[in-house]
């Protein structure tokens, strides 16, 4: 498929304030249901739509840490009073938003719906019931040896990455420090205290070589994104953000018992997305890569084609990734500093891209932002690779 331009656009976006449920600091302690309601209300206000305008359209919703019911999408729309024609649920982890976006634009392209409402909320800091079970490969073949969830798996990918390509702690630190700088300019970021490289290098090792400041910070929060057909988007806003192309790939090298874990499936996904949109990495004005860990950002800089494999460290030495630089990266602070809203964390990158491309990013606005690339990763597999991989090219005009 090529020539996707002019078919679908992001016509609205909403992001609730984030919280770590520190009631002692005056932070709210809300449920996922409350965040869904809040995000939907914000979206209706921004788009000027009434809830009934979404009747008979598409709705996509994600799973969350709690509640994690077998049947959740039905309960969620009942709670929200939505009456859709199409209802889908994502269980793609960090790639939840990307997964919903692809399903939504395909439904719009098919003419099945005109609008597709993407909903994502999670409250990892105030889980009120039993935590969800993790993957059985984790329980049976990793945890008995003392692995600490994705921290240990990513630490091993990071070690291998450093070994193979000579990456230094300072390279990972650059991502951490620059994204924090962006967070200081984002009123909704959770961590706004400026960071220095020294702070990064002094942060404690959690799973050596992984430091505390290599890891995203959990927040409670919710998002809503409205996808619309190109013509419907124009009726809602004079600033639609067009979906120019997308790509995805799951479980790369599935049949190989031993594969390179320093390359993500974003490589394949981005090639698809570039081909579909007819752009090249040089056309990208801002890049929002999934940032559960700093090393993931380095890998995606390579896999999305901004430099050769293994050269992201040098790329970071020679290029400025701040909002004023050659390649602005995670311009709102990303999950490392703005916060990871649990299973909804991947919505952040799409909201920030849309905000930038609409020229609504305030102090951190990228000048002449025309094309945005969002790449998403989800679900760390047995060997420490990412199972779900996406790339989405967004443009300022339909």
């Amino acid at each position: 498929m090529s020539g996707f331009r002019g078919i679908a656009a992001i016509s609205g976006y909403a992001e609730t304030p984030f919280s770590r449920a520190r009631v002692d600091k005056g932070e709210p302690r809300l449920t996922a249901e409350e965040y869904y309601a809040w995000a939907l209300e914000l979206l209706l206000k921004q788009t000027g739509l009434e809830k009934k305008d979404l009747t008979g359209q598409g709705v996509g919703i994600i799973g969350s840490e709690w509640p994690h019911s077998e049947i959740w999408s039905a309960e969620a729309i009942q709670n929200l009073g939505l009456e859709p024609k199409l209802l889908v649920r994502a269980d793609h982890g960090g790639a939840n938003a990307a997964a919903l976006l692809v399903q939504g634009v395909l439904a719009i392209q098919a003419g099945y719906v005109e609008h597709f409402l993407m909903l994502g909320a999670d409250t990892p800091l105030s889980i009120t019931g039993p935590a969800s079970r993790t993957w059985r490969y984790d329980e049976n073949y990793l945890k008995p040896f003392g692995t600490m969830g994705p921290n240990s798996l990513i630490a091993m990918a990071m070690r291998r990455y450093m070994n193979d390509y000579g990456a230094k702690p300072e390279h990972f630190g650059t991502v951490s420090v620059v994204q924090r700088k962006h967070a200081t300019l984002n009123p909704n970021a959770y961590l706004k205290t400026p960071l220095t490289m020294e702070d990064y290098l002094n942060s404690r090792l959690i799973s050596d070589p992984l430091r505390l400041l290599d890891i995203c910070i959990w927040v409670n929060g919710g998002f809503a994104i409205l996808l619309s057909s190109a013509s419907a988007a124009k009726r809602i806003t004079d600033k639609p953000v067009s979906i120019l192309g997308f790509g995805e790939w799951h479980n790369p090298n599935a049949g190989q018992p031993m594969h390179d874990i320093t390359t993500t499936g974003v490589k394949i996904a981005a090639e698809q997305a570039y081909k579909m949109s007819g752009i090249t990495p040089r056309d990208v004005s801002l890049f929002q890569p999934y940032d559960d860990y700093t090393v993931a950002v380095l890998m995606q800089i390579e896999d999305a084609g901004f430099c050769k494999k293994g050269e992201a460290g040098r790329f970071l030495e020679e290029n400025d990734i701040s909002y004023q630089g050659q390649l602005p990266v995670n311009t709102g602070g990303g999950q490392l500093s703005a916060g990871q809203a649990g299973m909804a964390g991947g919505f952040l990158h799409f909201v920030e891209a849309a905000r930038q491309l609409r020229g609504e990013a305030g102090q951190r606005q990228v000048k002449d932002a025309r094309i945005g690339l969002v790449t998403s990763l989800g679900c760390v597999g047995f060997e420490g690779h990412f199972i779900n991989n996406y790339a989405v090219v967004l443009g300022g005009e339909v």
């Binding site: 003392g146 692995t147 091993m156 799973s207 018992p257």
Partner: protein, 138 residues
């Protein structure tokens, strides 16, 4: 029920031969009868060719460290592990061509390196489960 305080794998009909062999001090791997691919963790179908004809075969127990991490903080696992910190979790490339996650012991964490030759031994946890762990090869 055992009093072993840390997580243990579930023994299923699929994995029973593996854990029984572990008690005898033997490391088994699945091998596809059709395409000879070695597989870890245990599956119901060959991840390479799609055949369900998988057999358990004895592995050499020898391999090399593909990557490793030194765990320094317990997050999301049994607090019992805090008594062992720092300890090494590694991905080991077995000579047969499959990767297994385990611990490297019998060596200081800072002396572990990528490519280091290692060999398996078994640590008895309960009468049912002995976990395959690795130490530097002799």
């Amino acid at each position: 029920m055992s009093s072993y305080p840390k997580p243990l794998p579930e023994v299923t009909p699929l994995t029973k031969p593996f854990w029984e062999a572990s008690k005898r001090g033997e490391l088994l791997l699945q091998r596809c009868k059709n395409c000879s691919t070695y597989i870890w963790y245990p599956r119901h179908i060959c991840i390479n060719c799609g055949s369900r004809e998988l057999e358990w075969v004895k592995a050499s127990g020898k391999g090399k460290v593909y990557s490793y991490t030194i765990v320094r903080q317990v997050i999301g696992n049994s607090p019992e592990f805090s008594k062992e910190i720092p300890f090494v979790v590694a991905e080991i490339e077995l000579d047969e061509g499959a990767r297994i996650c385990s611990n490297i012991v019998g060596v200081k964490p800072e002396d572990v390196s990528i490519g280091m030759p290692v060999e398996v031994f078994f640590e008895e946890c309960t009468p049912e489960i002995s976990l395959p762990k690795f130490k530097p090869a002799r």
